[in-house]
């Protein structure tokens, strides 16, 4: 039983961390909660579905995976970079966070309506063969949980993406510049960093992680125009629990929420999973107002 709880919790946490990464990253660099993030996730899922379906779907599984990932990446990055160029950049320059938050909200609404216009209000899903969940041993001695090959793939891909992001941020010159801009954009400019260029890169990374999250969501189940919004609240919770702007804090928050949700489901209280997750958020913030890894 414990093994199953942990395995399910890790799967929830993996999807949640992918869905939260862009939010955490944009908060770290731009210092505002990007409420268009939810709809960027949805767009990622729908773009992945379109790409995969056009490439033949189940008839050509590898090709459709590549096509789905590419379509999601191009669409998500394109949409957020366009939104930055047309709206967000000018508002961010004025340093009035209220107007930036409202604008992001409006962009999200617009995106969702465009999506309904194109795809209709119903759900999309990949048509695929039924997969068998195989037992997975996390630790010797722990009872086994069960995962399908797709679910294992999502967990593995998430781990690789997180490790890649970590190496990029900690060990590459561009990642270091990105951290400098996130910490103090004024000093970064005075030090010779071309701040707007690095901000474009930050938005591009947000888009890329929204694309990955959208693809993962679609591979695990159907998507509909509200899918991103359903992830937005737990994603905000993971980001806030971990400490605003800390990517590793966000991962810890996602793991905590994933495990609590998994426990709640396994003890037969599935309809309470969101309540317990948010009770946990309130508890953490009560004990540590800046989050687990936040700087007060």
């Amino acid at each position: 039983m414990i093994g199953a709880v942990v395995v399910d919790g890790v799967l929830i946490a993996a999807v949640l961390s992918l869905a939260s990464l862009g939010l955490s990253l944009s908060y770290a660099v731009f210092r505002f909660p990007n409420f268009a993030h939810a709809d960027l996730l949805t767009i990622g899922a729908f773009a992945a579905w379109s790409g995969a379906t056009l490439a033949g779907g189940n008839a050509a599984p590898v090709l459709s995976l590549v096509a789905g990932a590419t379509a999601a990446l191009v669409t998500c990055a394109g949409v957020i970079l366009l939104a930055d160029r047309l709206v967000l950049r000018a508002l961010l320059a004025r340093r009035q966070s209220a107007s930036v938050i409202i604008a992001a909200f409006a962009i999200g609404l617009l995106l969702r309506n465009v999506l309904v216009l194109i795809f209709g209000p119903g759900e999309v899903a990949l048509d695929r063969d039924i997969e068998i969940a195989r037992p997975v041993m996390l630790l010797p001695g722990l009872s086994a949980g069960r995962l399908t090959a797709t679910e294992s793939g999502v967990i593995l891909a998430t781990a690789l993406l997180l490790a890649g992001l970590h190496i990029f941020l900690r060990h590459s010159p561009t990642g270091r510049d990105l951290r400098a801009v996130a910490e103090d954009p004024d000093l970064a400019g005075l030090s010779g960093l071309v701040v707007p260029r690095i901000r474009v890169l930050a938005w591009g990374l947000c888009g890329a992680f929204c694309a990955a999250a959208g693809l993962a969501i679609l591979m695990l189940g159907p998507a509909q125009p509200e899918t991103g919004s359903e992830y937005m609240l737990p994603a905000l919770a993971a980001v806030v629990v971990g400490g605003l702007g800390s990517i590793w804090g966000m991962l810890a928050g996602a793991l905590l929420i994933g495990l609590v949700e998994s426990v709640t489901v396994h003890v037969g209280l599935a309809e309470w999973r969101e309540v317990t997750a948010f009770a946990l958020v309130v508890l953490v913030l009560f004990l540590r107002p800046a989050g687990l890894f936040g700087r007060a």
Partner: protein, 246 residues
Amino acid sequence: MPDASAPGTDNPGAALLCVEGLCAGYSARAPIVHDLSLALRAGEIVALLGTNGAGKSTAMKAMACAIAPFAGRIVCAGTDLTGAPSWVAARAGMGYVPQRDNVFAQLTVQENFAVGARARNGRDGPDTDAVLALFPDLKPRLASRAGVLSGGMRQMVAIGRALLGAPRVLLLDEPSAGLSPLLVGRLFARLTSLRQHLPILLVEQNVRAALAIADRALVMVEGRLHLATEPDDPAVTAVLAGGLAV
């Protein structure tokens, strides 16, 4: 490249920083700095003095293009920087160490230096070893985050960060703030050793220490340049003591 070929910039005595009629502040309706003109020539240290709130830091921010001026002209090593973004100024050779928030606290000392080197723009200049020779105390702390260092060490990191950008001029805003008298003496001795290659505009509360190494003194009163004179002119301390002698 463009600045090195600009006429006259490498003659001794040529102005490497030229500020004319600078007006600056945080709202166009209430400018803080009025009609400030000054020149910084190769090989000299100029002290920019004034009482609290006189507008020294605001003037420096405008020279470094951290804030946009309302009027006036800023030319650094032959490049007109009026209205340019801060990274263009840094890349043109404007080295600037702000009074506050002058290091990346979350980055290591080494990373602070590497970010500073982004301003080099192909110029030759000191490398990390040269900066460590100037500030040997930093050698064992290269891998420490700047935020955990003492105030004195942080000031050295901030100056080192600016030096690694191979600046043509250096603007220092109160580098001695928060340092013990012993550390101030050591820091200023190192600044004089830089003067040969790098003219310095120095804003200081520590008037005596600044005047001791300066070649010229400028005194600001209420946002205007009130006095431009020799460092040993008794009028400097008289004005700073509050006697607004005209």
